[in-house]
Symmetry: C2
Subunit: 394 residues, 2 copies
């Protein structure tokens, strides 16, 4: 794991992609899949190492096939060939996209037919929390052209693969957690009552970048007198007053891996209810941490946190977030969820957020979040632990 | 249009959403659509004003219906209700997501049935350049539950609506184009031979943010001796040497609107071929600008640029980007494309990028890009015009 001052190397050894592909192929063999078709940025990057900001452009589809044996096969727009050729992938097929007549579907059909023949089985992510980054009409067209071939949901298989992180992945997540923690700790020196939410978040954003993050795709700020009413909007132009509580939640990235945690700040004197709520969510996080050990489940982690919240005055029915933390890695939020009924068994190498939240008064929430990795003996913090009491800004 | 120093207001008046919705409803009526179902961030934001970074989390689907009459209807995770309630949308239906048993599909089916009855017609974006941000299995399930209802591609209708920007939209795009232009112009003072691509891009990123952009979701840097071989990877750790050419392409945002343009820099003496190629793409951009007037098409703009490139030594077959510029607005790249056969007629209020590129030697490209808005009399620059000769970095 990275120490302070250590900056993890960019990218991964080819051996990492070989291991990922071999692990996928073992699970595919168990399901009789001749190939798996992937369309989203993290899925393509996970198996190929293709790492480009160009996914920000929604115009062109990109396809990667994981065959039953051998290296992945790329079916991509010509604009990406030079970049893909720099990865470990050898078989790269391309077309000049965008092409309204045939935006890669013929090339893709041929590549899948080569693997699955007339009546084989292929996997595509279809289920909960998955998306296909291709036009729906092309998906339907592909299904038709692949008649005779069975298309099965590859989502469980992919979730399973990405669930346990390698040492190199954890190193990157740890790095961005650490530098973002330091930026949060330095923030009180640079902000004051009278600044706007947006100004406060800008100070943090610049510091996170100066400390070495690549970007801050997610940086939320919300505030209100004695508490805030949501955790996914903002920052706005609201000015911070004596008595406010502000939450800042951030997903910063380093080399394509995210942190995702928050800090709460008291502006002047926000009152006992808010202070007490912060202590409750802080202790709930401790309970989640203690429960987050191999053999326990995500539901156990939820239950441990929820017990502290209910003891502290939260509703039995839970918060309106739908869960209290989740997987973390190449995406801000990944499978699984810390929620009742999720029941995913924890293992060493799993990275999670612990995110207990409660409504402690009408329209006032308190949410806390830290990032952890599961080890043989139990959980380890990836973030610096937040203080029990909210830092006070004057 | 914004002047230097003017900062466009955040958000839009309710009248803007009313106009957008009414315009959609006129086009829907012409196609007999009882409702339109939208699932992506820009589509939901365009009609509702719901503007949240939370879309970075891929876990939960979000749905917005535009009915044949009246305001849009939101069918969203509970976590988003407070944020959606702050928009002009009144009818908000929610469920506690993620819910593996039914992640909003029953609520969504009911809402669509209310509009389309037993045998109406609904629109969803299905075709080229569109995506459905929902699990494919839920899309198939929805189609089944909506049996009797016809699902038609709403992509042409949506592209048409978003093609012409309002004055308030153009003001935001202009603002981020202007501040990013100034950051590009200031860059030579702060960079030098011996820095890495990543360091150069970091200097620019921080300056763009300091000048008031919200974020830099797209900031590419690529370099090489006498030219670069791609425009979508990087920046990497390559050190810049005397004789290099570096391209930096950036999509920075202000209030949810993008700029998308590039600048090329010469490090020391990159040679005549690169200098000449820069002049060619610069002149091609001028030709595209002259052709970009109401009544002409995107294909005319392409042809005007391509003629200059061919005259300057580029291949007749065009570059490997597949087009030379595109629409711009809420997304880094939007419909239409400046390419042969696109044939979209230009109108006042259309925002485009002009992006001529050529391979001028094996493995060496030169790509230039500016942003323009179409007015009654012809095109106007949104960016500061790049210099004819590449700035030289020593």
């Amino acid at each position: 794991m990275s120490q302070s001052g250590h900056i993890p190397a960019r990218g991964f050894d080819t051996a990492e992609y070989q291991r990922r592909t071999a692990a996928a192929q073992r699970l595919m063999a168990a399901e009789g899949m001749a190939a798996m078709l992937l369309t989203t940025e993290p899925e393509v990057r996970y198996f190929s190492g293709f790492h480009s900001q160009f996914w920000e452009s929604p115009t062109r589809p990109w396809y990667l096939l994981v065959p039953a044996a051998g290296k992945p096969i790329a079916v991509i727009p010509t604009i990406g060939v030079a970049g893909m050729a720099a990865t470990w992938v050898d078989d790269i097929r391309s077309w000049s996209a965008p092409n309204p007549g045939d935006d890669g579907i013929s090339l893709l059909t041929d590549a899948l037919r080569e693997q699955a023949g007339d009546d084989g089985r292929i996997g595509m992510p279809l289920g909960l929390e998955s998306q296909l980054r291709m036009p729906a009409a092309d998906f339907l067209e592909l299904c038709e052209r692949l008649s005779g071939i069975e298309i099965r949901d590859a989502r469980p298989l992919l979730q399973r693969l990405r669930y346990v992180k390698s040492a190199a992945e954890i190193d990157k997540i740890h790095h961005v957690c650490q530098l973002t923690s330091r930026a949060f700790e330095a923030l009180p020196e640079h902000i004051a009552i009278g600044m706007s939410e947006r100004e406060v978040c800008r100070v943090l954003q610049m510091d996170i970048l100066q400390r070495g993050a690549d970007n801050t795709p997610y940086l939320i700020g919300a505030s209100g007198p004695g508490g805030y009413d949501n955790i996914i909007m903002g920052p706005g132009d609201r000015l911070l007053h004596d008595g406010d509580v502000m939450i800042i939640d951030t997903g910063a990235t380093y080399d394509g891996y995210f942190c995702d945690f928050d800090r709460n700040y008291a502006f002047g004197e926000p009152g006992d209810a808010a202070r007490r709520a912060h202590e409750v969510v802080w202790h709930a996080t401790e309970a989640g941490f203690a429960a987050a050990r191999p053999g326990n489940t995500t539901s156990d982690v939820y239950a441990a946190m929820q017990a502290v919240l209910v003891e502290g005055g939260a509703a039995e029915s839970g918060n309106d977030v739908g869960r209290m933390g989740h997987g973390l890695g190449m995406q801000l939020t990944e499978w699984p969820s810390n929620r009742p009924g999720d029941d995913t068994v924890l293992e060493p190498g799993v990275v999670l957020t612990l995110e207990p939240g409660m409504q402690f008064a009408p329209g006032r929430q308190m949410v806390h979040e830290e990032n952890i990795v599961i080890r043989e003996h139990g959980a380890e913090w990836l973030t610096h632990r937040a203080p029990l009491e909210m830092p006070v800004i004057e």
